[in-house]
């Protein structure tokens, strides 16, 4: 378990959580990006515009 950086509510983690994964806070609905694991570090997940190449 880890605290949502927006609302402070508990957010549950998978066992095999990886850096880069996006979690949804069930309480406030914000998207959280896992920056690091062990210890878990979160930030608000960036909105990204998709630009495909060839």
């Amino acid at each position: 378990m880890v605290d949502c950086i927006e609302c402070g509510a508990d957010v549950s983690l998978y066992d095999d959580i990886e850096a880069g994964e996006i979690l949804d806070c069930g309480t406030c609905g914000v998207e959280l990006e896992v920056l690091n694991v062990d210890p878990t570090e979160l930030d608000t997940a960036p909105e990204l515009q998709q630009d495909w190449g060839e």
């Binding site: 994964e21 960036p46 990204l48 495909w52 060839e54």
Partner: protein, 275 residues
Amino acid sequence: MTASTIVVKIGGARAVNPTEVLDDVAELVEAGTEVVVTHGGSTTVDDTLEQLGQSPEYVETPKGVVGRFTDEKTMEVFEMVLPGLLNTELVTDLQSAGVDAVGLSGVDGGLLTGPRTSAVRVLDDGKKKIRRGDHSGRLESVDADLLSSLLSDGYTPVVCPPMAGHEQDGQITAVNTDADGVAAAIAGALDATVVFLTDVPGICTDPDDATSVVETVETPTDWEMLSDAAEGFMSRKVMAIENALSDGAPEAIVADGGATKPVTGALTGDGTHVH
């Protein structure tokens, strides 16, 4: 044949008859039409990656759209294949056909520029993730000066991705961008008609029925039909067409690259004409 400047997008190796297309381009250039040829080459990138013992990586967005993830090594192979092998061969073949072709990638002279986008949202095994290190870019600007100067000197530019991707620190990185989008952006910048040569006779209402080609798209109702008809890879082509027209291209045509004189045919009525 009224267009004085046209952009011809040549499809993948299997999509067009190169000799037929290049001879047709040579006749148009000889007759005084200014032509910019553009091309991609994704299939050859994949083949070359495999020959080098690597696998092309495709990722899926949370919305289910699939696209290439271009890591650093893939970008190197991309540079080898597009501005290297394919562009050089196309330029050489055009020279043999009597066209004074000059090959350019979007990096040359800052021809095609925009911000690099290195992070993408992907759906991996059901999980939403952010992947960083993608070498892609958002094509925002075409420097038409270089093209106009070459065209007025009698050269025929042959343009391919990559484009010049601006990093946040001001550095330039060569990044991947969609070849249909390149053709559309150049047509928009030059106010030129763009002809997309593909392996189908045009945009079809029934993809399994070659006789269901939409001939003209002009009214909002036509456009609605077009969007419905455009499936799979065609949806990105329709997006490119919208951009070309809104940027100033008078017309976009999707036509069969395997036909006899495919460019002349498209300019005189074959394929799907979008206004």
